[in-house]
Symmetry: C2
Subunit: 461 residues, 2 copies
């Protein structure tokens, strides 16, 4: 029986038409399987990375990204497409050069960390103070650091769930501030990454209030290990650094918002999305054009299947990388609206392997239906309490229920925050599996007849 026949039958029997019209096309399994042939997500990721390229937060490139987003989201048929701007500090990369002066003169590759201070145009030259771990630096007396270039290493390895990023990433997030507090003139870290290419992993670092930022940069793993070999020869190692990023004051960024309006506004918004900005070295393909592409394609597929019960709101967040500015701005502007759930895609484009939820007891049946809908994609219910995401985190903190679709992160930190984050790293087959999972999730959650009320946020969120 075709849909047309069903509709005719419904009319004949005077059944409530809208309800019936939705039931057939909103079958999560059918939508999921159709999404395994999706081309919308690739089209978005290819278009954004090709026609805009890198999209550093608060720059004119990110602004071009917003214009591109508005045009694309309107063309796809979304409703209420708009930009919500906010202001934030602008940081831009400058020159970056590093060389070992003695005992074995040679250049090394570096990239400044986001929010790095500057060496000034004449650079700095100093002896290296080497710390195998951040803990070693924290334990060191000031006398071992003062006037030196601190070099912090670590032993991060790949993990499927990305859990090594939290602890090992502290060398980047916190290391430079610790070094500055002890009088270092500059800081080098071993990239927070797992690949052996000559590409530094940038990423934001944080300064304590009132602290003057010093120059801070990451060495690719081959360069970090080269420097360690040189240090282990036992002679004092002197390096010269030129790192000249700039803080340019306040500038404009923004979130781009698009909606699939639901039939029941009181049921709460299903919030999904990723971030539009990227670091400046690659084209932000897996971080996070793919997240935008996956979530937008899934919402579009639901929209094309019929009107969902709940409004699906897709947000292309601005300025995630330098400190989650877009997510904070969104929460500030929209805290008063009822949100049913929040989910973001910001961990690459590799296949989803598990999902976690933080849903109220009243919505237990939703979890069961998600389990059924996602299992054919090789996705099992995980053991964690959901709550991932810099962008949707601020809404989750307010008690919005959470559903995490967890991507395989085994190779994510080979590319994360490097020049290598380019379109060719997206596997179209895995991308489609993501779209299928998100489509199934939306079909279940946006149409769930259950109430999805607030929850206790994941501890530590």
């Amino acid at each position: 029986m075709t849909l047309r026949m069903l509709l005719a039958a419904a009319a004949a029997f005077a059944l409530p038409l809208p309800a019936l019209a939705q039931v057939a096309p909103m079958d999560p399994a059918a939508l999921r399987d159709a999404a395994l042939h999706d081309d919308i997500a690739w089209d978005i990721a290819e278009g954004l990375t090709t026609e805009v390229g890198q999209r550093l937060a608060a720059t004119e490139a990110e602004a071009r990204g917003r214009e591109w987003a508005v045009a694309k989201l309107k063309a796809l048929g979304f409703q209420n497409v708009r930009i919500e701007t906010f202001r934030m500090p602008l940081w831009v990369r400058g020159e970056e050069k590093a060389e070992i002066v003695s005992p074995f003169p040679q250049k090394l590759v570096i990239a400044a960390l986001g929010n790095s201070g500057s060496t000034g145009p004449r650079g700095v030259e100093a002896e290296i103070a080497y710390f195998p771990t951040l803990a070693d630096l924290e334990a060191a007396p000031e006398s071992a650091v003062k006037g030196k270039i601190v070099f912090i290493s670590h032993a991060m390895t790949a993990t499927q769930d990305g859990s090594s990023y939290g602890p090992f990433g502290q060398a980047r997030r916190k290391g430079p501030a610790v070094a500055a507090s002890k009088g270092a003139v500059a800081v080098l870290i071993r990239s927070i990454g797992t690949d052996y290419h000559r590409n530094s992993h940038t990423g934001g670092t944080n300064w304590s209030k009132g602290m003057t930022p010093i120059a801070a940069a990451a060495l690719p793993l081959p360069d970090a290990e080269q420097l360690e070999r040189v240090i282990k020869r036992g002679q004092p190692v002197r390096m010269r650094l030129l790192i000249t990023p700039q803080f340019k004051g306040e500038a404009e960024s923004g979130n781009v918002i698009a909606e699939v309006p639901g039939s029941d506004p009181s049921a709460g918004i299903v919030l999904i999305g990723g971030h539009l900005d990227s670091w400046d070295q690659g084209t932000g393909a897996i971080d996070d054009a793919s997240g935008l592409a996956i979530t937008t394609a899934a919402a579009k597929r639901i929209m094309d299947a019929g009107q969902p019960r709940r409004t699906i709101r897709v947000v292309w967040f601005g300025a995630e990388e330098p400190g989650g500015f877009g997510g904070e701005a969104y929460a500030k502007a929209h805290a008063g609206e009822r949100h049913a759930t929040a989910s973001e895609s910001d961990f690459g484009a590799d296949r989803i392997w598990k999902f976690d939820v933080n849903l109220p007891e009243s919505a237990k049946a939703v979890t069961d239906r998600l389990t059924t809908a996602l299992a054919p994609l090789g996705i099992a219910k995980g053991r964690a309490v959901a709550g991932d995401g810099t962008d949707v985190g601020p809404m989750m903190k307010l008690g919005v229920a959470a559903i995490d679709l967890a991507q395989d992160g085994t190779h994510y930190f080979d590319l994360h925050h490097t020049p290598d984050d380019t379109l060719d790293k997206i596997d179209p087959v895995q991308l489609r599996q993501n779209v299928a999972a998100w489509t199934a999730m939306l079909a279940v959650v946006a149409n769930a007849p259950e109430e999805i009320g607030p929850v206790t946020p994941r501890p530590g969120l």
Copy 2:
């Protein structure tokens, strides 16, 4: 029975001592298997890449490399260690920046090709003329090229024997000269490589006599494909390039030579080696510190086992990359000496999978013994006529017999001539397999009782 007991027995029975002393330790199978535990090669590759780093031909870095080589070769116990200098043109890299100006403004990564001309300090801006292959450029009228930045692509894929490098590499070797002859202002090529990292593959390009070099650079594959996507959007594409390498006139390079003197000088020299110089972006680990390491370690292992019949001469050739200057200088200086065979290692550090020979009929038994000695390492006799090598090629052209130990090149062009050519790319286990093969080869060839006379060089050498 220990060697000492054997020697005592030999003395007691008044047998010819040198012959007996050699027979036991020069068993190719035993030497081969012992070499699977070799640490000498790693020590050389690690030391040279760490303590000298990049070694661009005719620079002070290459000169430091020669000093390092002399110290190392003497420390290892080689005889007649010396440097033979020669003069050659010095080319050095300058600034290199590339950006798409319109229709989609963004930076691309480039690296100048060796022997590239300069755009001058103000750079050039022009429209792109795109040619999917070198043949398309060759067929194009001047009007399609004049005043433009030529972009040449190709479709090189990985091959085990590296045979795709010859034909596809012509885009680099010859493409810039063809473009210049038709009035191009600059040339970009898709890197002659097979990886998707943001690292350009440099390498030498050639100009016709009297031609003024124009700026010529390689795009990494992600950037080349990005540019192709932009071009395929159908609008004219304008780029701005800044490429400022310099020709610095004549400078000194040199070959470093070391020997294991043979007991029978009339039997001819067994010539082996690799090249000391490297391109300037990596540390020249697989190109070609590994070749030096493998051949030197094998010669050292033979030396430690006893005196071979033939002199083994290890040459660390200078200035291979910009045009084979070291090999030409060697042939000019040593053409008058009798060489039995020539072999070089200059195709990475991955495992050897076949060997080829060009030996005279009188030495057919040598090939049979090589087949036996190499088979346990997974190395079979190939179907080609041996004669590989920029450095030993000039001697082979003069009729010196050739033995090629062919490394697996499947991954070689992921790294070749890129910043990624660093120590971490050498797999110690595969490196040892190489040392074992070379040790077995030397044990067979340097001690072969057969005459190894001149041969007809491989056609086209």
